[in-house]
């Protein structure tokens, strides 16, 4: 037999053997029901779960699983309620400047270091030194004093009625072991704490394979009730279709958070799964560009907003993953009676604009590429405008260019939709960020006269009544329109219980992992 022929036969045999061996070997399948390990999907990879840099909801699952703050928002309730965590109780002085916390005793960090007052100052100092997005929450701290090992007194540079909300936020300061911080002080430990934790939470960081999987294991000396799952594995899956196949095949127990309404509808039809839609503060907002020639006139802005049928747009765009809102602030943030949008619907407004102020105008509506809710809302708004003979088209901007494009008058569209949520449930966290030019998410830099001063005054006084005036002024300006509230979503195997009590009001796709349990 010629040599080349033998070689070919050998290769052929090798391929057949390889595929046969691989195919016959057992794939990692089978239901995970009854397992003490919870298998969840991450839809795409996450940045480092460092508590002082993490600023997106997926990595917060790891951060809040392994770390705890002094206080937190109670899980599973539709209105914000503060609850004690590493502080057992607290007191705020009448000027909203001095905050006194009594600390929980008998708590240890995962490295064995006992939790005491020294950890509070060390953790605040690290957040300041790392100086990433969430650092603003401790920027106003003047001093952290420890009268005893189990009490801290935090004094602010200026009164801030939102400070407790900062501490309770899922993005808020987390307590880190002073021992670990000292041992990994180089570059503030920003590389070390990407893959190692130093918290007190019910779970510890286990094996992390960047881009592939992240594992949490139960901390055996946790001060609270022991978590029911001994381990939680997050597998990185790049697309929702594959997630669905893996859940159906039993390789995964579920996924927390995704904005795909078609996928959710498909999951709902599966009798082996529970689908969840949780209340949230996420409120997609329509921004009208004050630098757009189309919107220099307030009457035109108001007329355009009054002509759009927002309940219908929200229903078509979001399905069951969101619902229309009549309020300016996210629901429950302030009293609904003083939070109503002032612009009433007018069926004839768009046709009047089409033949009048917006005649011959072509409007561009921008949205962030990786936001399905914003995309769907933008497309439905454009459709309604085009139906009314006002030319409109949507433009998708990659996340990395969205903010800089909006800030540049030469490139910014006439309108844009941002589907955001506040860092805390305090109204200042919404209004200051979204409605003042220095806030960060006031994407066109719109400055409604008087808003900044009102917010500053209320931050000092803590009087919630003043936010009604802010809501009125924002709505009347015609620069902003709160379109809907987007619900947090989760799909979990029926073998997983506890999700209905574990959801977080502030961050839509965050569950308190220690409250999840395998079905008995």
């Amino acid at each position: 037999m010629p040599r080349s022929q033998r070689l070919l036969k050998l290769i052929g045999a090798a391929v057949i053997a390889t595929v046969a061996l691989a195919g016959c070997a057992t794939t990692a399948s089978g239901s995970t029901s009854g397992s003490k390990t919870l298998h969840l999907a991450y839809l795409g990879d996450i940045p480092a779960p460092d508590p002082d840099t993490a600023y997106a909801s997926p990595e917060l699952a790891l951060v809040n699983g392994a770390y705890e703050g002094l206080i937190a928002y109670k899980s599973g309730v539709p209105t914000a309620q503060l609850e004690p965590v590493l502080a057992t109780d607290w007191k705020v002085d009448s000027t909203n400047t001095v905050f006194t916390f009594n600390l929980r005793q008998g708590v240890t960090f995962h490295d064995g270091t006992p939790f005491d007052a020294s950890a509070v100052k060390a953790s605040f100092d690290r957040r300041t030194a790392v100086n990433q997005g969430p650092a603003y929450m401790v920027a106003g701290v003047k001093s952290v004093d420890a009268p005893t090992d189990h009490q801290v007194v935090i004094t602010l540079k200026a009164p801030n009625s939102a400070f407790l909300a900062y501490l309770a936020s899922p993005f808020g300061p987390k307590m880190m072991s002073p021992t670990a911080l000292k041992a990994h002080s180089a570059n503030n430990g920003t590389n070390y704490f990407d893959t190692h934790d130093a918290g007190t939470g019910a779970y510890e960081f286990g094996t992390f394979k960047k881009g592939t999987s992240y594992n949490l294991t139960a901390y055996p000396k946790y001060w609270g009730a022991a978590p029911k799952y001994t381990a939680i594995d997050f597998t990185v899956v790049s697309n929702i279709s594959t997630v669905q196949l893996e859940i159906e095949g039993g390789q995964l127990d579920g996924i927390i958070g995704f904005g795909d309404k078609q996928a959710l509808a498909s999951y709902k039809a599966d009798s082996t799964l529970n689908t969840y839609e949780f209340p949230s503060l996420q409120t997609p907002t329509l921004f009208l560009n004050p630098k757009s020639k189309a919107f220099t006139d307030q009457a035109t802005r108001v007329s355009l907003l009054s002509g759009l049928d927002f309940p219908s747009i929200a229903s078509k765009a979001l399905g069951t993953t969101g619902k229309s809102t009549t309020e300016v602030f996210p629901p429950t943030m302030i009293d609904a009676a003083g939070d109503q949008q002032t612009i009433a619907h007018s069926a004839s407004a768009l046709s009047t604009l089409a033949s009048g102020a917006l005649s011959g105008t072509s409007l561009k509506i921008g949205y962030m590429a990786q936001s399905p809710a914003a995309q769907a809302l933008a497309e439905n708004i454009a459709a309604e405008l085009n139906t009314a003979k006002i030319s409109a088209k949507t433009i998708s901007y990659p996340n990395g260019t969205f903010y800089s494009t909006m800030a540049d008058p030469a490139t910014a569209p006439d309108m844009a939709i941002l589907s955001g949520y506040p860092d805390t449930a305090h109204p200042d966290s919404w209004a200051r960020i979204f409605y003042t030019p220095g806030g960060g998410l006031d994407i066109f830099g719109t400055d409604v006269p008087g808003i900044q001063a009102q917010l500053d005054a209320m931050l000092v006084s803590g009087d919630p009544a003043g936010y009604s005036q802010v809501a009125h002024d924002v709505s009347a300006s015609g620069y902003f329109y709160s379109l809907a509230t987007v619900l947090g979503t989760a799909v979990l195997s029926k073998s997983v219980t506890g999700a209905d009590k574990a959801w977080n009001l502030v961050v839509p796709d965050l569950l308190d992992l220690k409250l999840l349990a395998p079905k008995a």
Partner: protein, 331 residues
């Protein structure tokens, strides 16, 4: 040979330099805001200003570029804006994943090409049907093939896994090439598990390449079987099979190998899609995330690596070509 290596090294340097300029310029003419991506939306103006200085973004463009180039010479590809880790460290995880997949894609493609080319040279309806079926599959985009394979081999038959490179992610080996790592550490089950994960993505990416190669190879084989040397061999009582494999295949390999070198670039591009569908933690998945978040150091790092891989792949193909066909000289 020395001249060949020098020429290829020079072309490698030129390709990498051109890529670095291109990616740098593209990033600058775009409206990207890396500082915002790095710090998050609610960062204070002070933090934004400090980070701009820290990344050297306050310097003139040309200085920024030469700073970047200087870093490259020291193996420093910069810090990823979105993951906040050194790009070189990130690529050290991703490159083996993509190269391992690419190697299997090429392996499957070559095997498929040889088998199909052999079948194409046969007469009769079976050959025509097979040609039609494979041509149809090869016409489909790789994402569709990948999805079909997932539905059939994962969902229906449960033969192969849908996600990732390995079941037990806690393990690992010295090279990052999981099949090889299993063999090196004597863990055959690990290698088999890695192969299981490789089969579907490699098949999805190799089908189009294999069918294209098969057509070139089959044409070469047909003309080879009708050539003077085949007639001479027949007159010397060589069998048809012997003429096909000993003479025709070798002669027909040259154009097929040349085409393989050209198609390698397209293959690397198609891996970006395939990696997304199979959640393959390689350069493709990394690149798509980096582009969305305007992560210039990450995009540039991947571009440079892919450029280098392409130049090296074509060099390897040229060497193989010279080994197969003595008429080809390495210059």
């Amino acid at each position: 040979m020395v001249r060949f290596i020098v020429r290829r090294f020079v072309s490698l340097v030129v390709v990498l330099f051109s890529l670095s300029v291109l990616v740098f310029v593209l990033q600058r003419v775009g409206n990207a805001d890396p500082v915002r991506a790095y710090l998050g939306p609610n960062a204070s103006q002070a933090a934004i200003a400090a980070t701009r200085i820290r990344f050297g973004l306050d310097k003139p463009l040309i200085v920024q570029y030469f700073d970047y180039l200087g870093g490259l010479f020291h193996g420093d590809l910069g810090m990823s804006y979105s993951t906040r880790r050194p790009v070189a460290v990130e690529l050290a995880d991703k490159v083996p994943a993509t190269l391992e997949l690419a190697a299997w894609v090429l392996f499957f493609a070559v095997i498929l090409a040889v088998v199909l080319a052999g079948i194409y040279t046969l007469k009769g309806p079976v050959s025509g049907v097979i040609r039609f079926v494979f041509f149809s599959f090869a016409s489909a985009p790789s994402f569709l093939l990948a999805t079909l394979m997932l539905l059939f081999f994962f969902k229906q038959l449960h033969w192969f896994p849908a996600v990732g490179r390995i079941t037990d992610t806690s393990g690992g080996g010295p090279t990052g090439f999981y099949v090889l790592d299993g063999l090196l550490t004597g863990n055959l089950a690990y290698s088999l598990d890695a192969i299981q994960h490789l089969v579907l993505p490699a098949l999805a990416a190799s089908l189009g390449l294999g069918v294209a190669l098969a057509r070139v190879l089959a044409d070469g084989l047909s003309s080879g079987m009708a050539s003077n040397y085949a007639r001479t061999a027949r007159s010397l009582a060589e069998t048809e099979r012997s003429i096909l494999f000993r003479h025709s295949l070798r002669n027909a390999s040259s154009p097929a190998l040349s085409m393989l070198g050209v198609l390698s670039g397209a293959m690397l591009s198609s891996l970006v899609v395939v990696e997304q569908i199979f959640s393959w933690n390689g350069l493709g998945q990394y690149l798509s995330t980096a582009i969305a978040s305007a992560d210039f150091p990450a995009v540039a790092g991947v571009s440079l690596v892919l450029g280098a891989v392409y130049v090296i792949l074509t060099a390897i193909v040229d060497v193989v070509l010279a080994l197969v066909d003595p008429r080809v000289k390495l210059t």
